[in-house]
């Protein structure tokens, strides 16, 4: 493909309909009520890292876990854009929940698999929130590669090997594992408590999103779709995951800009608000520029993912690189604007800073995505 990805048409301009704005307001109000900073802090110190009662409400009252799952599989049947919009609000509050793992990674993997039975059987539980699911695809460098072997036996498949950095891996009821079978990489489903499955929770920088290493030792697994079909599915799931994550990041970036702006207006030094000093004002202006650019990139990528546009890999890498750097820089600047208090455990600035860095490293860092683009452009 050439560099001529057709980027930008008015359909993708990031102008939301009244219905979409209404959805945003509903989610925002819900999160403000159920996920204030105090709740985030309480939950991030727990092993599970989420509040089952809130999770249940999200699934049963708002139907968020199934927002992008078609109605025939028990979901709400909205588009990918709506899923991204929900994620943006979750990113703004740092909602600690296995939402990304379950509603994005696992649900999208099943949706893209060519396996009607598995979809009918597994998606309704994910959509209602009853099942917490995740996707295990990474090796010890975080790349989608090798590491787990699938063996076909007369009574089904067994998996052996280790998957790393699995989001909410220690918690999940259902794990979709990418493993190598005779015909090549394939997707398998493993249930919590399966024989030979062990989870090692990881001590992560971002306390609001848990990760685990999962080891399989002759673990019984169910093949999803055809043997050897994982490559295409995983590729696409990871592009969608990048897009979903950058939209979540836009929420976080928005939130830290608001924090910095508020503090710059309230904090007095030398007899005037610090925001009246250009050293601070101009930092805030640059933060605004980064947030606006992030919006442009993320909203456009969401629209292209929804439209199944051929430019998806290009716009996803572009957004992952741009927004990854932008969110990290605004989260870092927020600490600087806050001075000493910004470096304390009690202040929320570090929670966003850590989320920003961790998100930047997930699914490929900005430099990785630029090199992917360079290859694609034949540079």
């Amino acid at each position: 493909m050439s560099a001529r990805a057709t980027i930008g048409n008015s359909a993708s301009a990031g102008v939301f309909s009244e219905e979409q704005e209404e959805l945003r307001r509903t989610v925002r109000t819900f999160l403000e009520r159920t996920s204030p900073e105090a709740a985030v802090r309480r939950l991030m110190e727990t092993d599970e890292g989420y509040d089952p009662a809130v999770w249940k409400q999200m699934g049963e009252q708002l139907g968020l876990q199934g927002i992008h799952v078609p109605e025939e599989y028990g979901g709400a049947g909205f588009g990918f854009v709506e899923l991204c919009l929900v994620l943006e609000e979750m990113g703004a509050t740092l909602l600690p929940a296995p939402f990304f793992a379950s509603a994005v990674l696992a649900a999208e993997t099943l949706l893209l698999s060519d396996d009607e039975d598995a979809k009918k059987e597994l998606l309704p539980g994910i959509a209602s929130g009853q099942t917490i699911a995740t996707l295990a695809y990474a090796n010890d460098t975080g790349r989608p590669d090798g590491a787990v072997e699938a063996t076909s036996t007369p009574s089904g498949y067994t998996l052996t090997g280790t998957r790393h950095f699995v989001l909410d891996g220690a918690l999940a009821d259902l794990i979709l594992v990418v493993a190598c079978a005779d015909a090549g990489p394939s997707v398998f489903a493993v249930e919590k408590g399966a024989a030979g499955l062990s989870a090692v929770p990881l001590s992560t920088m971002d306390l609001t999103r848990k990760q685990a290493d999962l080891s399989f030792d002759g673990t019984p697994a169910r093949l999803i779709g055809a043997e050897g079909a994982a490559d295409g599915v995983l590729d696409r799931v990871l592009w969608m995951a990048c897009v979903a994550l950058v939209n979540e990041s836009v929420g976080g970036a928005r939130a830290v800009l608001a924090q910095a702006t508020r503090y710059a207006t309230e904090r007095l030094q030398f007899g005037r608000p610090i925001g009246s000093f250009q050293a601070i004002k101009h930092r805030c202006a640059d933060m605004l520029v980064a947030v606006e650019g992030s919006r442009s990139a993320a909203y456009h990528a969401a629209a292209m993912a929804q439209a199944d546009d051929p430019s998806l890999p290009v716009v996803a890498s572009m957004a992952k690189s741009y927004v990854g750097e932008a969110y990290f820089s605004v989260a870092a600047e927020n600490i600087q604007v806050h001075g000493g208090i910004g470096f304390t455990w009690e202040h929320p600035a570090h929670l966003y800073f850590k989320r920003a860095k961790a998100s930047q490293l997930l699914f490929g860092d900005p430099l990785h995505h630029r090199s992917v683009l360079a290859e694609r452009f034949g540079l």
Partner: protein, 394 residues
């Protein structure tokens, strides 16, 4: 007017006045008469009372048909002076000035900056004194783009030095061919003389050419400056294939053995930025801001100016030793339309981009605007607040 009606009107215009064979000024006149100049305004002002967001449809369709772009024939007029007249001009002024402005028959200039009033436009000293039905202008403007080609200008002048600086200013349309006006080319660091000094010595302006009330000039000027930012930012950002020039530049260099991973990464980074700016421009336009631009235009002006500078530097670096060569520094007074004097060579462009972060408001001033007007941060400490202009140190 609905999108369908508008599309039909565009198609009729193209059919009756084939864009590639019709004289550009005639084509633009026909476009104005068809209500396709500024779609959201009244018919008499060159519009169709359509939704502002539909302007993009008109531009796209006409560009695709190879129609002349009005901005190329009158950049300051189309980008800044026209929108200001639409917002603040009297019906007589709009009837008299808008059509020739749109067709490029009368080129316009923006006469705001002065030797001691650049970023601080409101500090300007050019005087206008009332004399019956006329005003008499005395003073000097500077950095005035295209004044050597312009027939008219939008000028800000001080009409009451006893008031604080923002309150004593009045805006006028000035005839640059009137007695007492002198335009002197000013050479830029590129060698070219795009801008000028303009001197006013007892220049008479009829009161009917006053734009807005006496003393309301700052409000008029703000409209112009906001439009300038949208116009500069937008023009820089909306390109057919944003960033493709960067990738092409890198490919050529790489084919000569000048590629390396660091440059390759910078090429992609610039490509990404060009596209992000492009998407922001689309988002701003889709927001329906035309005609009443908000401070959002400042985001685009800031990012595209900074981008342009880095992109040009990247391109010059790719040339290696040859990047140090220039086509020459002979004094050139540019002509209109744009582009008629040939595509600027890379080094000339590299030199020219140093103006992008100064013209139309410096990057520092734009950050102030973003901080104060968009984010609502407290203003700078102002020592001239409430002080009569004549008592402000300068």
């Amino acid at each position: 007017m609905s999108p369908e009606e508008l599309t039909a009107a565009i198609d009729t215009l193209i059919r009756d006045h084939p864009p590639t064979t019709t004289d550009p000024h005639d084509f633009l006149g026909a476009r104005f008469d068809a209500g396709l100049a500024w779609v959201w305004v009244d018919r008499s002002d060159g519009g169709s009372k359509a939704a502002p967001a539909l302007q993009a449809l008109v531009e796209q369709r006409l560009t695709a048909a190879g129609a002349p772009h009005p901005g190329a024939y009158n950049p300051i007029g189309i980008g800044m002076c026209g929108p200001t007249l639409l917002a603040h001009g009297t019906p007589e002024q709009r009837a008299k000035y808008l059509r020739p402005l749109f067709t490029g028959e009368e080129v316009w200039s923006q006469l705001f900056s002065e030797p001691s009033a650049g970023s601080d436009v409101a500090g300007l000293a050019t005087r206008a004194r009332r004399d019956g039905d006329e005003w008499i202008l005395d003073g000097q403007k500077v950095w005035t783009s295209y004044a050597h080609l312009a027939r008219r200008g939008l000028i800000l002048a001080r009409t009451d030095p006893d008031l604080p600086k923002h309150q004593g200013i009045t805006a006028f349309v000035v005839d640059l061919h009137a007695p007492g006006v002198e335009v002197r080319p000013l050479r830029q660091m590129t060698g070219a003389a795009e801008f000028n000094e303009v001197f006013f010595d007892g220049v008479r302006v009829p009161d009917s050419d006053r734009v807005g009330d006496p003393g309301a000039g700052w409000r008029v000027g703000t409209t112009t400056l906001m439009n300038e930012r949208v116009s500069l930012g937008g023009a820089l950002a909306v390109r057919a294939e944003p960033g493709s020039d960067i990738l092409d530049g890198y490919r050529v260099a790489a084919s000569k053995g000048e590629g390396n991973p660091v440059r390759r990464d910078e090429a992609v980074r610039l490509w990404i930025e060009a596209n992000v700016n492009h998407l922001t421009a689309i988002r701003a336009a889709a927001g329906g801001n035309r005609g009443k631009p908000g401070p959002e235009g400042s985001v685009l002006k800031l990012t595209t100016a900074e981008y342009n500078r880095r992109a040009a530097e990247f391109q010059v670096d790719l040339l290696g030793a040859a990047g140090a060569l220039v086509p020459g520094y002979e004094v050139r007074q540019p002509t209109l339309p744009y582009g008629s004097s040939g595509i600027p060579a890379t080094t000339t462009w590299f030199l020219r981009t140093r103006a992008n972060t100064i013209e139309g408001g410096t990057s520092e001033i734009l950050r102030n605007i973003l901080g104060e007007r968009v984010l609502g941060l407290p203003g700078d400490v102002r020592v001239d607040k409430g002080v009569a202009w004549k008592d402000v140190p300068r």
